[in-house]
């Protein structure tokens, strides 16, 4: 919900079936590369989002099938550090999204809320993620300047 709500311009002026198609293909990764491309100063809209979504869908199916077939040949993904690839990718993407000093307070709020939620065991990780993201955006909305 938050991913699709955060990119209203991608859906603006599109007929319902196109919105539904893009919503169906929406995922962390095509969202992130869309934002990354924009941060690099290049245009990226509906076509980019849907195109990346289709590529991701095909690659995901192919790669998971391959992974399931070859799983026994790989000793232990965690020992090879493969589990960390995801975190590293999102750190890199976060840095490309940084727009300046105005982002410091919202981002610090997000991180603080997440760490507090997880450390106190008050909320499970997926909920901590949602609450952290929303409070960060709320800080930008209430205290930020245009």
């Amino acid at each position: 919900l938050l991913i699709t709500a955060s990119i209203p311009d991608v859906f603006a002026g599109r007929p319902f079936w196109q919105v539904a198609l893009a919503a169906h293909l929406a995922a962390d990764e095509n969202w992130a590369i869309l934002l990354g491309r924009r941060a690099a100063g290049r245009a990226a809209g509906y076509r980019f989002f849907v195109g990346a979504g289709i590529v991701q869908f095909v690659v995901w199916l192919g790669a998971t099938t391959l992974g399931a077939t070859l799983a026994e040949a790989i000793p232990d993904p965690k020992r090879l550090g493969m589990d960390f690839a995801f975190t590293a990718a999102f750190i890199a993407i976060a840095l490309t999204l940084f727009r300046g000093r105005g982002d410091i307070a919202p981002w610090a709020t997000s991180v603080g809320v997440v760490l507090l939620c997880v450390a106190t065991g008050w909320l499970a990780a997926p909920w901590a993620l949602v609450i952290g993201g929303v409070t960060g955006a709320a800080v930008a909305g209430v205290f930020g300047r245009d």
């Binding site: 859906f11 020992r79 750190i91 982002d103 709020t109 450390a119 960060g136």
Partner: protein, 109 residues
């Protein structure tokens, strides 16, 4: 449970396709409602600022979640990732160096 085979709802309800279908429906409705909701957000003011800040906030929250229950090694590797990302601005390179860093940290420390 004594039921008449073929008529009982317990038979089709126990099919794995029922939870799968329900989850697919919920996921799709959430994504679609986000798209419809986003179209109604004004283009100026506090709501617009919050919407524009949402992608960044979500991504740092995502990173925080994956590091929150991790150890010191992961935090050190995350610092390496950030430095490489800032210096190189390259996603594949950052991922490769980070995997090498976490592997080395887990192997030798």
């Amino acid at each position: 449970l004594v039921v008449i085979e073929g008529v009982s709802p317990s038979r089709w309800l126990s099919s794995p396709w029922v939870p799968l279908g329900a989850l697919a429906l919920i996921t799709f409705s959430l994504r679609l409602s986000g798209a419809l909701l986003g179209r109604r957000v004004p283009t100026q003011g506090a709501w617009a600022r919050a919407t524009r800040a949402l992608p960044g906030s979500l991504i740092v929250a995502l990173v925080a979640v994956s590091l929150a229950s991790a150890g010191v090694r992961e935090w050190v590797a995350a610092l390496v990732s950030a430095l490489v990302a800032m210096a190189s601005r390259s996603l594949p390179l950052t991922m490769a160096v980070s995997i090498a860093a976490i592997w080395a940290l887990r192997r030798f420390t």
